[in-house]
Symmetry: C3
Subunit: 485 residues, 3 copies
């Protein structure tokens, strides 16, 4: 496959030097990423109370993946995996960056090449909109990682109502607290320059994404747009008109949550409208998914999955996902094979015929043909998740229909057929002990490749890591050496 | 300011290629650094028992800074900060290098560019005399860090009487203990070659500094001389004639200490005499200060400041300082605004019109204009100090007149107006809680940028660091995250 | 000496450009490394029950070193020291690599230049046969570290009987456990490509070594062959015919062990026969030794030395060794001066007149002249060993006839004249306290140069390291600083 790719890449290089000549065969790529969206919080994936008409329409005409996994059960590492095509543990990014402008000088290591950079170098016009969360200082900024244009906020989240957060921001400034103002209320930016957003942020990001599609469509190159909405991440702030769409929802939290998702769906509609208006709809691969599972305490639902954001239970990192590309991707509502957010890097790179020079060993696979044909893209290959807690690690190892699970500090591994039993209720570890031991062993081999965390979300996590002499993999894997030294 | 500098630098580059042409407008720079000299151990700064006539004369004709801070409360990191213009915590140099030739292969990271290198590259003749303490192997030697010439000892201190330490050294050699002989009794060196010093070391260093000034004055370039006296650092060894100058001092320790300071003052006189004799006095900026506060148990005094060397109390790192430059720096005995040893790097670099390529983000500011005009060089900007102890960290955050202080393992932050209350007696934390919380937060943001220590002074410190899962910043800052992940 | 080398190197460079011209004066070098072979498990070194006729013949015509030390008391670090000429602690390789294909991405750092690379660059044809144990992924493979050809297995050991291990391997494959199959039963390889070995592995490696000698002898360059037999390392598997050679050995373990050594001796015979047949015997330096002491629980004997593999007692790392080179190395059965496996790098490099550009500071010395003349190659210079245990470190410091020893967690250093008292029975620490304190101090200076371990053999070791806040050198050396900061 490498050879084919190299060839394609070489051809494009020739074309590129012949220049003004258009390359119709390379599709545009639009990634729409939701934030903390639960598995069953969109109607195409089973929500009974939240309606998402625009997403549903796309989903109905595309392939819905029912076993899609984020690269990690929470935000920062999940996005690091998406951008690098590699498990964040490999490069010490297994924790969120410190909040609140404490991440100066910290970010995803610059020797990890982002898919945006790969696509940019292969001739794509590249745009990021929304939440970044991968480093705030110049060397880690979207514009330094392969995005020609960027509009959004580089921290881990943002307030939604400009009039409110701007007031808070001005008050803080007046108190002389510039360096310490919380990320969530700082001004948005365009390519590093502060801007004054005026719309509810989800609407603002939709407006900008649409505008960039318009700009992109006027260029002689395909485009890659990474629209990373912060909805429905905290703070829980919805427009009254959006909440009013759900008169039947009585629970207050759920109502706010539903309103935030509804705004997200409206944003998707706006993006689709612009793609059509710009004549790019037919030649655009749209990938929609969430960065991790829903946070149930703030109103999300992952049913029928067990667990929530942060867990290695299915509810923690199995996410709603679809691919949409007219005449290429078939309409199918249950592509049940495993797909990982890590697969998007090689899939996109191959679509672009991109050169992978400088890209380290990727952890995902090109899934395009498998998705088109409804086949398993990685028979016999495992997909891993590991989340470090205070003194122990939770693990998930998904291979084909099965998943080995370690959850909680007690060293008891379980095994589930998560295809038949997505709620992880029937432990099959007694039935398939060899399979379980094989999955554990694979995860241990993977864990040996982890680097020490380069940062922690808060100082306390770092202390706990050191205090407990983490990562304590000997307990996680309970490894018994066979021969001596 | 960067642009102006670049321009000046470019102009000098042109001049340099035109070569033999003198550049009278660039001043010579002479840094005279004392070692462990207390805040009130020089008469110009309030000493009642120690007389320092030569220092006093310079101080009277220059600007005395009453709120000058070393980069760290003890020696190695303080000097690392001076040389790099950056907090030593940024590059893992927050502890002293191991003593006694155990620092083989250790030293201030070579990707930190020293002010000496910057000045050397901009056309200065550069000389270091005295104590180094920044790495002993060739890659860390003064000659490798930008000094054309060096005379002194690369360890952290030295005995003073040659006839005595040479005898001890020979006895050790005779016992076949070459590799393990204590640094303090080894021969001095000139540019890496052993020499046999014959004078009391303070006098010897003065002699060499004067000789280098003479050599420098015969060259067609300005010069930078870093005269780093070890006096009055331990071992406490004074000449009888110097102690005899203080018949009124009864305390034995204080008498020895006073004698050592008196010798240092004589050395300063000798340097000034040579500057005059060489015709360089008028065009030379002299900066005098101490690497940290006085060590009271060995006879120093930091009155009215609280605390001593090693503390983040004022007595630990507020030091006597003056700038002297005829017709440029006004005679002023109380420049009370904050100045940091970290400021010398950008100040000197700008004076030299030096190119800062390869220099990382500096922590100080160019203070020249502010000092000349008696203004605050960094309104609203904090200066930090942090010293790691066994299981906790002491912190000082100075901004304008105020200082937030954490001292001791109990998590109680205090706030002082150290301008009015340099003895840190009236805790204002209850009065200005917002200011205190802001200073804490700024220090926490700064702490996120620290690197793991690359070494420890003694192995025990390293064990303690690991045993207590340091740096335990969660306790130091008692940080409460606002939003979740 | 450097200058002489540089000169020779320059001359060879001239010769090399004149090309087809042979360089008869540069000898071939053949290193025959045994694995876990005990000090007294070869008859030339005192074994009373195991006969090793082929080794004995070489030993009788060469110089037998009675105080030869491996670079470390166990396998991986010992070989890392051999290949780099540097203590493995310097580059974080003080533990064995993780077993069982868990070492993906781990290996001896690539900025450590191997002797094989140095010899290859100086014009030698270079071959490795047998066990590698220095990294399994491509960047760490023998072919990437300076070996033109390689036949063997890259892990830390191997089963011996192909028909048996291949059956186990196929069974594992059939269970779909490819990623997790134990190293010891995987196929051997030639230059990265799997091969199907058919002979008892010791015989197979002998066959390949002989074949490479044949190939080498047909080239216009000298050769360097590193024949790293896994015998007599576990698993304990001997041929019946070899065990039958020892009817007097009743102990079952010892009988198997003896059979394995006998096969190794046969392999040596085969290598010698081929050297003679190829006409290379006279111009070849053969160095035979073991990577560490014998593992007594599996049948080895280190008598009269105390301790076994893994210990810093003499039995842990003093190993049988001889040099053989007709007309160059004299026949001598007791070269009693200290020699270290670390000495082979500079010795070989000088023999080849090799350029040492890119080679870091070597820890050994060129011993050739000293061996020829029966002199001490490093008078007054120490050879160190340090093995980290659970919460403490064992240390050995050998200088001239003496050895300082710390063994076990109690902080009691001992001193032995290991020349007269190789069993380490008479503690001389009371008699020579100054010498002991000097050796301790030297070891501490050396320890300051250690890097953090880059990996651990099993995850448990890593946890223990962190849990106990290792390396705890303050306890190992019980250092008391003389002056303050």
């Amino acid at each position: 496959m490498l050879n084919k790719k190299t060839l394609i890449s070489a051809l494009f290089a020739v074309c590129a030097s012949a220049s003004a000549f258009a390359q119709p065969e390379r599709p545009n790529i639009v990634v729409i990423l939701a934030d903390d969206l639960g598995y069953s919080d969109v109607s195409f994936n089973g929500s009974k109370d939240i309606t998402t008409p625009n997403l549903d329409k796309l989903a109905a005409n595309g392939t819905v993946m029912t076993s899609a996994y984020a690269a990690h059960p929470f935000c920062g590492p999940s996005r690091a995996g998406l951008m690098t095509g590699r498990y964040p543990h490999r490069f010490g990014s297994q924790f969120n960056l410190p909040t609140n402008h404490k991440s100066g000088g910290l970010g995803i290591p610059t020797d990890e090449k982002f898919i945006s950079k790969v696509l940019q170098e292969s001739g794509y016009y590249t745009v990021a909109v929304g939440k970044w969360h991968l480093g705030e200082t110049p060397e880690y900024h979207p514009n330094a990682r392969g995005f020609d244009d960027y509009y959004g906020f580089t921290g881990g989240g943002h307030d939604y109502f400009p009039e409110k957060y701007q007031k808070k921001y001005q008050a803080s400034l007046a108190r002389g607290m510039d360096a310490t103002i919380f990320d969530y209320i700082r001004p948005l930016e365009r390519n590093g320059k502060e801007v004054r957003e005026t719309e509810y942020v989800t609407d603002g990001l939709a407006r900008e994404t649409a505008a960039y599609i318009d700009k992109a469509s006027k260029q002689d190159k395909p485009f890659f747009i990474y629209a990373a909405f912060n909805a429905p991440h905290t703070p829980m702030q919805a427009k009254d008109e959006d909440m009013a769409m759900f008169p039947n929802i009585k629970d207050k939290k759920r109502k706010v949550y539903a309103g935030m998702v509804y705004a997200l769906d409206r944003a998707v509609g706006r993006i689709v409208d612009q793609l059509k208006a710009s004549g790019e709809y037919e030649n655009t691969l749209i990938v929609f998914f969430s960065d991790n599972g829903g946070k149930t305490p703030t109103g999300a639902s992952n049913e029928p999955l067990r667990g929530r954001k942060g867990d290695t239970l299915e509810g923690g990192y199995r996410v709603p996902m679809f691919f949409h590309w007219p005449n290429k991707i078939p309409a199918r509502d249950n592509y049940y094979h495993v797909i990982s957010a890590l697969d998007l890097f090689p899939t996109f790179a191959n679509l672009a015929g991109a050169d992978l020079t400088g890209v380290k060993k990727l952890d995902g696979v090109d899934v395009l043909d498998a998705v088109i044909n409804g086949e398993n893209a990685r028979p016999g290959q495992s997909v891993f998740a590991m989340r470090h807690r205070y003194g122990y690690s939770d693990v998930g190892v998904r291979k084909d229909n099965f998943k080995a699970l370690r959850f909680g500090s007690k060293d008891e591994w379980q095994l589930y057929d998560v295809n038949k039993d997505p709620s992880e209720t029937k432990d099959l570890s007694g039935k398939y002990p060899v399979l379980l031991s094989q999955l554990k062993e694979e995860a241990e081999i993977w864990a040996w490749q982890h680097a020490e965390p380069k940062w922690f979300h808060i100082h306390r996590e770092g202390f706990q890591w050191r205090e407990k002499a983490m990562p304590r993999f000997h307990e996680t894997f309970n490894y018994k050496p066979m021969y001596g030294e």
